[in-house]
């Protein structure tokens, strides 16, 4: 029983950071129609922000995390302005550009921080016990931050004029521009949010993983599976799929092993694709 409960707590953490990454990826895809292959590298850059600001320059942890969000968000804006905007009618070109960008980010990380792992000391070693399951503050931060950020995003998208514009662009860019919504402005904000979420996920989890310049690969494969399960165009789907995948993966790892967990994860993806090619929450008509 204890093991079950502890596993559920473990899974909640995994779901939190995966949801941040997947929502960012979906957001970029939704508005720009581009699969951002460099998304894992944005996570990596976020993690290295914490390596640099918190571990090397000893700024406060939360400040470093915030800086990670903003900095990676701006990296996103740079990507939008220099690559995705000129390539708006060329989604495959956007894909290739993001691959090129990924190579550049990896190499820059190697130049700046070396090819071996970065080190981030824990910001706190405190932990709480929830009905016998241990949850460290470091992990709790991630869970709380993910919930707050996603809730804020949700409110932003539902309530603000901008949110409507964003959703309008995601549904039909042409119609949106006819309604006087600026595609450039919307894309910039979407890219900032999408990249920033990946960056903040990397920043928050930096003390818990060991960031290397090549960690993005592990991240993007998982994120891919999640957005396929959730339905590529759906933010809600991304969150729910992240939770689903994290729980399945964590429980199978705990009760069988990690390799079997990956097989189950892929099988889940395949099953969803066969039964519902557009994902659990994807729009049907797009298929």
């Amino acid at each position: 029983m204890d093991l079950l409960w502890q596993t559920a707590v473990n899974a909640t953490y995994a779901a939190s950071y995966m949801a941040l990454i997947a929502v960012g990826l979906v957001m970029i895809f939704g508005v720009m129609g581009v699969i951002n292959f460099a998304h894992g590298e944005l996570y990596m850059v976020g993690a290295y922000c914490v390596v640099f600001l918190y571990a090397q320059e000893t700024f406060p942890f939360l400040l470093a995390v915030a800086a990670g969000l903003v900095f990676v968000g701006f990296v996103g804006i740079v990507m939008e302005r220099t690559m995705f905007r000129p390539l708006r009618d060329n989604p495959l070109g956007g894909l290739i550009a993001s691959i090129g960008f990924l190579l550049i980010l990896q190499t820059l990380a190697v130049f700046g921080f070396g090819r071996r792992m970065g080190h981030v000391p824990p910001s706190t070693q405190g932990k709480i016990e929830i009905f016998g399951a241990i949850l460290t503050y470091q992990r709790l931060f991630v869970i709380v931050a993910a919930i707050l950020l996603l809730a804020a995003l949700w409110a932003f998208l539902k309530r603000s004029k901008f949110g409507r514009a964003l959703r309008a662009c995601a549904q039909d860019a042409e119609a949106a521009s006819l309604q006087g919504i600026s595609m450039n402005q919307t894309a910039r904000v979407a890219m900032f949010i999408g990249a920033g979420l990946a960056g903040v996920a990397g920043a928050l989890t930096a003390p818990l993983v060991s960031p290397t310049p090549y960690i993005g690969h592990s991240i993007i494969v998982t994120a891919f599976i999640i957005i396929i399960v959730g339905g590529v165009g759906s933010l809600e789907g991304a969150v729910i799929a992240a939770v689903l995948y994290a729980f399945v993966h964590t429980f199978v790892t705990t009760f069988f092993d990690g390799v079997i967990a990956n097989i189950v994860g892929l099988a889940l993806m395949l099953a969803v694709l066969i039964v519902r090619p557009t994902g659990l929450f994807g729009a049907r008509e797009r298929a």
């Binding site: 699969i35 892929l266 694709l273």
Partner: protein, 341 residues
Amino acid sequence: MQAAGTGGLVRRTAWRLRLVFLFAMLAALPYLLSYSQQEIAVLLVINVLLVCSYRLLTLTGEWSLGHVVIMGVGAYASALLAKQFGVPVPLSMLLGGCMAAATAALLSFPLFRMKGFYFLIGSFAAGEIIRLIWKRFTDPFGGPKGLKRIDPFPDIEASFLSVDFYEPVNYYFLALAVVSVSLFVLYRIERSRIGLTFHAIHWQDRLAESVGVDTFRYRTLAFVIASFFAGIAGGLYAHYVGAVNPTRFSVDQMVYVLVWAIVGGTATFHGPILGVVVLTVINEIVLRALGLDTARPLIYGAILILSVLYLPNGLESLGPRLQARWRRWRGGPAAAGREPA
């Protein structure tokens, strides 16, 4: 599509002359290269087949992320047939291609329920599952380490002729022969009604359906043909390098195929070939020769971005563009006025 009259005859003759010239160049090429560049040339020729077969699939408008895995199916099948069952290597390569085609035929049932972006990710999922099978079932696939000591292409030992396919020059000619025949077949397919139908499905699949084109069947056909030739490329690779493993056919490698195709351009038959040749020469020869060492991926990445930004229609569009500029320059302002911009 059909050339007619004397103009056609002249054009056809010119075309044939160009082809003869091209083959003469290709035949002379290895003798102008250093030994290690010959090795690069062998892999390049194999990759040309890979990317050209990929283009055939994209004619129907579908982009796959599983093409390299399919190449791996051919490579694994050919290697296992040769190693475990003693099938002679040329035959095993052919069977490897068939195995890849059969895998594609099987995969088409779930995959062609999807279109466009969903097909892209669906093919990724299917590919990952195949790779997982290779990793998981150590017998016969060798697990994460894969297969090694794969039988080489048998040497020719006749009284008058002795060809050792370990030598890259010889393997280059073998690969060149196989790839030329394959490309000819791919070219014929595209120029036939089948190719017309593929294009038709790409541009207006509902209209094609309405005049009796079974789009599912034709998409499957494109997928199967493309996969067959990818499998052949896999066989050529496996028996040259002598080793295959699941990492060699991962999505990272697939990304390169995608990059070659898009940077080269897919509107013409030669576009992807240009892409793979130019990018390989840049990455494997120029950047290495410049001693860029660890900065190589950075420069390569920058080249990718710049090329899609400034050559959105691929390298294939560079020729006609330069030609137009040349003509304008040569014809002077008067001629330029006559030509539509």
